[in-house]
């Protein structure tokens, strides 16, 4: 199968997979106790059951879950994700307002992670058991040991409170909040400043893991016969390392990075809560807590799509890294 056919097949497969995901999520949601109306009205006085039933009927919550799923599916077929029960706005609008924020720090964190982990892992592998190797691996061990929550708070204390270099949270400083604020360079620079700490925190956590992975992968590759052959041919060590060893060592790293995208998106609520970051992760948890069904399914579908697309891209990158790979 050629690359083009393979990509087409993977893209087409995304649709039934999303339907499957949405079906499972919908079913699971209705296993949760209570719905949005129950939560909204429970603590109010005089909750006449007839009134509660009336409100539920307004939002269609009185119907069985599979009927509600069917209605949702009909809407979804026209790219309509429905409306948020809590805010009344379209789910796509709600997600659109947050997805860029989430992707921005997630992608930057991946770039940061790979950018730091690859050189660190290579140096560690090439100078195995040296002081540099010990230092890098100790730092990596610390990095994988700290939970994101703790690492985030530590970064806030160090960079915001003690050093005062970066803001502690949010997406903008107060002076840039408001409808009449021009979106000029200073506005976006302020956004980047706020982006720094979530990126650094998430990036550090995955850097630690990736550096260890690059090191071990490189060590395996460096022991291969073809590396010895390359050296025997008199190639420069730099060419042996970067051209022959690294390319092959990157295959497991790419695989793990693909899985990490799913993991870091799943961990987004923690990062976004610590840094008051207006992203999808925090909103997802809020929607679950308030049983905002359409938002829950909508975010699941969007995140599912992102992860599936990321996996397709990773599969393509295999072919680029190792032309022997056949689909």
């Amino acid at each position: 199968m050629g690359m083009r056919e393979y990509i087409l097949k993977r893209v087409i497969l995304i649709i039934p997979m999303l339907m499957g995901i949405s079906f499972i999520v919908f079913m699971l949601m209705y296993l949760m106790p209570g719905d949005a109306v129950d939560l909204m009205l429970a603590l109010q006085p005089d909750t006449d059951p007839a009134y509660v039933a009336h409100i539920k009927s307004i939002y269609g919550l009185d119907k069985p879950w599979y009927i509600q799923y069917f209605y949702w599916l009909k809407q979804f077929a026209t790219f309509n994700l429905g409306s948020s029960f809590l805010s009344g706005r379209d789910v796509s609008e709600e997600i659109g307002a947050r997805v860029v924020n989430t992707l921005s720090y997630q992608l930057l964190a991946v770039v940061f992670s790979i950018g730091v982990a690859i050189p660190a892992g290579i140096v560690s592998a090439v100078r195995q058991y040296s002081k540099t190797d010990n230092l890098v691996m100790t730092a990596a061990l610390l990095g994988v040991s700290f939970p994101i929550f703790f690492l985030g708070l530590m970064n806030i204390f160090i960079f915001a409170l003690i050093l005062g270099w970066l803001p502690s949270g949010g997406a903008h400083s107060t002076v840039f909040l408001g409808k009449d604020i021009p979106h000029d360079f200073s506005y976006y620079f302020d956004y980047l400043k706020h982006l720094a700490l979530p990126t650094l925190t998430l990036g550090l956590a995955s850097t630690a893991y990736n550096a260890r992975l690059v090191r071990s992968s490189m060590l395996n590759v460096l022991r291969e016969d073809y590396i010895m052959t390359a050296r025997a041919k008199g190639l420069k060590e730099r060419i042996v390392i970067y051209k022959h060893a690294l390319r092959n060592a990157m295959l497991p790293v790419i695989t793990v990075t693909g899985m990490q995208i799913a993991l870091t998106l799943g961990g987004a609520p923690i990062t976004e809560t610590v840094f008051s970051w207006p992203g999808l992760g925090k909103y997802f948890v809020y929607a679950i807590q308030h049983r905002d069904y359409f938002v829950i399914v909508g975010i699941t579908v969007v995140l599912g799509t992102l992860i599936l697309v990321a996996n397709v891209l990773i599969d393509i990158s295999y072919k680029w890294l190792d032309p022997r790979v056949e689909f």
Binding site: G34, D38, Q44, Y59, P167, T174, F275
Partner: protein, 639 residues
Amino acid sequence: MNVKTRKVSMVLSIVLLTSLVLSLFGTTAIAQEQEITKVPFTEDYSKYPPFFSITQIAPIGNKVREQYTQAVNLEMPKIGIQADFKLLEFGDLINREFNNYYGKSYSEDGFDISSFGWSVGVDPDPFDIFHSSAMTPIGNNVTFWYCPEADEMLAKARVEIDQAKRKEYLWRFQEIVADEQPYCVVYIPLNMWASIDTFEGFSGLLWTQNYDAASWSIPGKDTIVYGTPAAVEGMLVWRWNSVYGYYCNQQIFQTLWQNDDNLNMSPLLADSTTEGPTIVFAPSMLDDASIEAMAPDVNKCNVSSKLAEPVVFPEYFDIKIREGIMFHDGVEMTSEDIKWSFDACVSPDTAFQGYGTFRDVYGGSEIVDKYTLRVYVGMPHAAWLRYCDTNILPKHLYGDIPITGAEAATKWMESDVNRGETVIGSGPFIFDSWEADQYWKLKKNPNYWGSKYGLPEAGCDFFVLKLIPEREAARVALETGEIDMMDTYYNLTAIGEDLEATPGIKLWTSEQFGYQHLHFNCRNPYLANKYVRQAISSCIDRQGIVDNLLGGYGVPGRNPVAVPSWAFNTNIAPDPYDLAKARELMDTAGYRYYIIEKQVTVEGGEAGAGGTSTTTLIVIGIVALIVGLAIGYMVKKKD
């Protein structure tokens, strides 16, 4: 053997047998008279099998509440109760308690004991939480507690206009609750806020009572940034999903009345009221038939109010609003705006929540003139004017949005006002902008109508509500100047001492209108016994909780009425932490371990005497046997 010898031998044998029989009989008789004395076992019961097991639940979120519930959980085995502890997601807890029909226990998807917190008002009406006709799912009586006298006090207090009499009823009600303990109030934390030390004009009261951002200012700063831990969704004041949405909207959309500094009602939009003629109202509380119709399962409990009585109350009130109240778009507010707002708010089709009591007390209205609205009484209530109130929106802007019909709820949710595109009120602040999960920004109303009536204008040019979910992150933001005030819902009492010691930070405290409590499912077979509930209350170290978990920023609780309220019964003291008393109460309830001591007694004599007489009889029997055998032998030998 001669005849004489035979006779002697026979007599001796009879004596012998009689002695043996007597000794055996005597021993049996004494054994039946043994007394078993039960000496109370006063030590810790936790080493022994429990009398029964229950499950305590608490919602995730409030760390202090989670900790104290666990502390109580560790104490209960000491009085013989095995208690499991479950931290539940809020939705699960709500479902178990507020959708609980006829008192299901935890194992049946209901609950046994729950840790929770209520916030009650200045002018308390505990009817909905304690009255038997308000059992869930109709009202909030989640405990299924039924006490006819308490029902009577609540029903009377609800409609009594004379505050002295009302206080009498509510004080008696509190005494009953203190004895019966369907609720076991544990502690009342202080409200605590932290601000930069130049913050001025803060009254320190909880938002629901008297938050007035217009009075706040910071010299040298034109913007006040207020940090909050929860998000705001939507701009619709009648429908709010977080306290902050409601709070922020309060600065834009005003009500007829507000609280003054002493928490008394004072006019805001309203100018004056005139009572209409009195009429007789049918009983306002639900009777058996109504409950049966609304929630048939609840009535299976066979508890409902039998105390419903007709009430004499004004038929209507004429409410006159102030002249010259201007909306932000320059249009004057009239009685039409009030009527339309009231009707929209109570319409079931608009699906606005939080107005249960308003819906009950509001019986419709008609316009008298441009500034006067006649509001009919739907249900008599002692605090009718306070409860018959809501935020007023301009009809000329939003009047096209339907308030009845199947599409009303959706239309309101999709409306410009909810989306933050056209947000027009009459308050001292004008809506500027918002971004979901980030901030709300209000700006000063330069043409505020209230100035001519002595109401405060906004003390800052901009007021920003900024979302920072994590407490430690918010604290850093306060210390670095990114925010000016941290809200009370960050549970600052836990770090109060630390904050006090931080330079540049000022703490604000006030008594709280809410309380943290355990409440019991009174339909649980064990917890139905009030002595068990009292025993549990006595094994709570309230002072320890306040000292160790709240850092001293709170008071031990006992009363389900707010401490600052005029209705708070000051005569009731919190239960002291007393495990011996708790075990005595368990004893009274029928649950106690004993050390059993056996005492052997003879009727009319001491235990020792009884023992001696048995031995004597046995000895006499044996001696008689030996003598009889000896005489028989000697006689036989002589023959």
